[in-house]
Amino acid sequence: MTKILIVEDDPLMSRMYQKIFKFEGFEVDFASNGEEGLDKIRTGKPTLVLLDIMMPKMNGLEVLDKVKIDPDTKDIPIIMLTNLAGTQDAEAALTKGAVKYIIKSEYEPKQVVNMVKEILAGYTRDAVPAAS
C-alpha cells in the first residue's frame, strides 16, 4: 500500500491532508516537527513525503538535506509544502532534490492528492521507489 508521510506542524493543515489522503485510500502517517519527520522517514520508509518548510526544531529544508544525503532515504520523493509562492526557500528546495513545491493556500486538498498521484504514477512506471 502507498504510504504518505505528512510532516506539518500546524494541526489544522496536518489533519486536513491526513483526511484527504485517507479518503483517497492512502496509508497515512504524520509528524508534527522536523525531527520527528526525519525519524519517521528513516524508520517508516514512506512512499512519498509531504514536507512543510517552516517547522519548529528542524525546518523542512534541513530535513530535506538529511534525507537526500542518506542513501537509504535519498530516493523517497519529497514534496515541499509552503505558504508563499516564488520564495527563495521553495526554489532552494527544488535544487536540493525536492520533486515539487506546493503553495498550500493555492490548492484544494483534492488537487494536492491529484498532484501526488501524478508524481507517483511517474515513479511506478519507472519502478524507482524502493519503499512500495
Binding site: L12, M54, N83, L84, K104
Partner: protein, 619 residues
C-alpha cells in the same frame, strides 16, 4: 677801429705796395736786358712771394705774432732778392719752401717736406763744395739761401705753434663767450618763462579763489543735502538690518528647529553651519568637527571632501540611506547650493540628516505584519476551504439537506474569496514596496496564453460564456516576462470579463505593436461608463460600486491595480482600450519584446525572503 689798428693797416698797405713794386722790378730789369728766361723766373718767384705775403697779411685770423713773423720773412726775402737775385743765380725757388710749409700748416707733413728740401739743398752745397758737380752760383748765395730757409723754417714752425695755440685760445674764448651768451640767453628765457608762469599762476590763483568760494557755497548746500540723505539712508539701513536680522533669525530658527540634522558648508569648508540635531547625531566638538565626523561616516560611500570641493560633482544631489551611527539609522541628503541669479554658481553644499530608525522600524513591522497576516490568515482559511470541500465531496450523503449543503457551499466560497483577498493584499504590499520579484524569461505568448486559458477553463465554474483564443496571423516575437505574473494578470482580466458578461463571450487575441506584444481581452459585457473609466487601475476601485454596493462584484477591488503594477514592473502597460455600455470592453496588456538589452538578468532579489522574516518573528 682803434688808432693803433689804423696805423697797422696803413703800414701793411705800404709794405704790400713796396713789396709788389720791388718784386716787379727784377723781371722788368731782366726783360730790358733781353734776358727773358731770368725775367720769367724772377717774375714768377716774385709773384708767388707776393701772393704769399698778401695772403698772410690779409688773413685776419692770424694773430699778430704770426703776422710779424711773416713780415720778418718778407724782409729777409727782400734782402735776399737785393743781394743775390740780380746776379742771376736762381735760388729764389727756395722761397717756395716756406710757402709749402705754410700751406701744410706746420704739420708733420710740412716738416717732412722742409727736411727733404734741406737735404736736397745740403746735398747740392756738399756736391759743389767738393767739386763733384760744377754749379756756377757763388757760395755766398748758397749760405744766404740756406740761412733764409732756416730762418723761415724756424719762424714757420714757431709761428704754427704760436698761431695754433692762439687759435685754440681764441676759439676757447669764443666758445666761452658763446657759452656765456647762451647761458645768459637761457637765464633770460627762464626769467621770462618764470615771469609768465607767475602771471599764469596769479590768474589761476584768482580763478581758484573764485572757484573755491563757489565751491564753499555749493558745499554748504551739499552738506545739507547729504545730511538729509544720510538720515534717510540710516533709516533705510536700520530698516534693512532689521529685516535681515529678522530673516536670519527666521532662518536660524528654521534650521535649528528642523526635524533634520542640518550641515551647510561652503566649497572651501571654511564656513560650516550645523544645527543642534546635527551636533547630537554626529557628536562633533564643533561645526568643523561635525563635518569631519560626517566624512568618516560616509567614507565607504563617498569622498565627501571631494564632493564639497567639486560642489556636488555635476551639481547633483545625492541620497544615502540606511547609514548606521551608534545603532540608529540615518538618511543623508547631500545637495549643492546653486545661486540661480548668478549664472548657476555653486557656493556650497547642504547636508540633511534624517533619522529613519523609526521609519525603518515601522516599515519592518508593516512588512512583518503582512507576512504574519499572510501566514496566519491563510493557514486557517486554507483549512476551512479544504475541509468544506472535503465535506462537499466525501460527505454528500450526510448533508442531503439542501439548506445545510447551501450553507457549507457558502462557507467554502467565502473561504476562497477570503484567500484571494488576502493574496491581493499581500501582492499589493509587495508591489508597493517594490519587493515583488520578477523572474523574467523569454516567453512565447502565443504558446503561454492558450495554456493559461485551458487551465482556467477547467478550474472556473461558469455558464454559457465562452472563452476563445484567436491565434495571431503573423509570428509573434518572444517577450521578456514572468510567466506566473502574466498568468495572474490574464486570469484577473479574464475573471473581470466573465464577471460582467452575461451573454456572448470573451475573446483573447495577441498582436505585435512597436516594441511590444499586446494581449487583448475583449468581452461583450455591460461596459464601463466613461466617467468611471479613469478610476480603473486604482486601489479599491470597482466600476459601478459605491461603498455599499461594492460587494456585488465580489472582489477586493485590487485586481486591476495589481495587474497594472505587475505589468509595469515587467516594463509593459495595462490599458482599457475601449468600452461601451452594454456592448462590451476591451482590456489589454503589453510586454516588451525580448532583445539583447533586456535579456540580461533583471531579477530583483529580495533582501530578506518572507519566510526568513516569519522565522525571525517566530524565534
Amino acid at each position: 677801429m682803434t688808432q693803433k689798428e689804423k696805423w697797422r693797416e696803413l703800414l701793411l698797405k705800404i709794405i704790400l705796395i713796396v713789396g709788389g713794386i720791388t718784386l716787379t722790378l727784377f723781371p722788368v730789369v731782366y726783360a730790358l736786358q733781353d734776358k727773358w728766361f731770368f725775367a720769367a723766373i724772377e717774375g714768377l718767384s716774385g709773384l708767388f712771394l707776393w701772393i704769399a705775403f698778401v695772403v698772410v697779411v690779409t688773413r685776419h685770423t692770424y694773430s699778430w705774432p704770426a703776422r710779424i713773423g711773416w713780415l720778418g720773412v718778407m724782409l729777409v726775402l727782400v734782402v735776399l732778392l737785393f743781394t743775390g737775385g740780380i746776379s742771376g743765380t736762381g735760388l729764389y725757388w727756395w722761397t717756395l719752401m716756406p710757402i709749402i710749409s705754410f700751406i701744410l700748416f706746420g704739420s708733420k707733413k710740412g716738416l717732412r717736406a722742409l727736411l727733404t728740401g734741406y737735404l736736397v739743398f745740403f746735398s747740392i752745397v756738399f756736391l759743389r763744395h767738393f767739386h763733384v758737380v760744377e754749379i756756377y752760383y757763388s757760395m755766398t748765395e748758397m749760405v744766404m739761401g740756406l740761412s733764409a730757409v732756416a730762418v723761415v723754417s724756424i719762424l714757420m714752425y714757431n709761428y704754427e705753434n704760436i698761431a695754433g695755440k692762439t687759435r685754440d685760445e681764441a676759439q676757447q674764448k669764443a666758445d666761452l663767450l658763446t657759452e656765456q651768451a647762451e647761458q645768459k640767453q637761457a637765464v633770460e628765457n627762464k626769467l621770462i618763462e618764470n615771469l609768465n608762469k607767475l602771471e599764469d599762476e596769479k590768474e589761476k590763483q584768482y580763478d581758484i579763489r573764485t572757484a573755491m568760494l563757489n565751491l564753499l557755497e555749493d558745499a554748504k548746500d551739499l552738506e545739507k543735502q547729504l545730511q538729509q540723505e544720510k538720515a534717510g539712508v540710516e533709516e533705510k539701513i536700520i530698516e534693512r538690518t532689521q529685516e535681515l536680522s529678522n530673516t536670519k533669525a527666521k532662518l536660524d530658527s528654521s534650521i535649528e528647529n528642523l526635524p533634520l540634522g542640518f550641515i551647510m558648508s561652503d566649497i572651501k569648508e571654511k564656513l560650516v553651519v550645523t544645527n543642534t540635531l546635527a551636533n547630537t547625531i554626529l557628536e562633533g566638538k564643533d561645526q568643523k568637527d561635525n563635518l569631519n565626523k560626517l566624512k568618516a561616516v560616509l567614507k565607504d560611500k563617498l569622498d565627501l571632501g571631494k564632493y564639497i570641493k567639486n560642489c556636488g560633482k555635476d551639481k547633483k544631489s545625492l541620497v544615502f540611506t540606511d547609514i548606521e551611527i551608534n545603532g540608529r539609522f540615518f538618511q543623508f541628503l547631500l545637495s549643492p547650493i546653486i545661486v540661480k541669479e548668478t549664472n548657476e554658481v555653486c557656493i556650497g553644499i547642504v547636508i540633511l540628516i534624517q533619522d529613519i530608525t523609526e521609519a525603518k522600524n515601522l516599515e519592518r513591522s508593516k512588512d512583518e505584519f503582512f507576512s504574519i497576516a499572510s501566514h496566519e490568515l491563510r493557514t486557517p482559511l486554507t483549512a476551512i476551504r479544504g475541509n468544506t470541500s472535503m465535506i462537499l465531496e466525501y460527505y454528500a450523503n450526510a448533508i442531503k439537506d439542501p439548506e445545510l449543503k447551501a450553507m457549507v457551499d457558502d462557507i467554502h466560497s467565502s473561504s476562497i474569496r477570503l484567500i484571494n483577498i488576502v493574496n491581493d493584499f499581500l501582492n499589493v504590499s509587495r508591489l508597493e514596496q517594490s519587493r515583488m520579484v520578477y523572474d523574467l524569461k523569454e516567453t512565447n505568448l502565443d504558446k503561454l496564453i492558450p495554456e493559461i486559458i485551458k487551465e482556467y477553463d477547467v478550474t472556473s465554474s461558469r455558464q454559457k460564456i465562452s472563452i476563445d483564443y484567436t491565434p495571431p496571423k503573423a509570428t509573434i516575437p518572444t517577450v521578456m516576462a514572468d510567466t506566473d505574473k502574466v498568468r495572474q494578470v490574464l486570469i484577473n482580466l479574464l475573471g473581470n470579463a466573465l464577471k460582467f458578461t452575461t451573454k456572448g463571450g470573451v475573446v483573447i487575441s495577441i498582436a505585435t505593436e512597436d516594441k511590444f506584444v499586446k494581449v487583448l481581452v475583449t468581452d461583450t459585457g455591460r461596459g464601463i461608463p466613461l466617467k468611471q473609466q479613469s478610476l480603473l487601475f486604482h486601489k479599491f476601485q470597482q466600476t459601478g460600486s459605491s461603498l455599499f454596493t461594492r460587494d456585488t462584484a465580489g472582489g477586493s477591488g485590487l485586481g486591476l491595480y495589481i495587474s497594472r503594477m505587475m505589468i509595469e514592473g515587467m516594463g509593459g502597460e495595462v490599458k482599457l482600450e475601449r468600452s461601451e455600455e452594454n456592448i462590451g470592453s476591451v482590456f489589454s496588456f503589453s510586454l516588451p519584446i525580448a532583445n539583447k538589452t533586456n535579456k540580461v538578468d533583471r531579477l530583483t532579489k529580495l533582501h530578506l525572503s518572507e519566510n526568513e522574516k516569519v522565522d525571525n518573528n517566530k524565534a
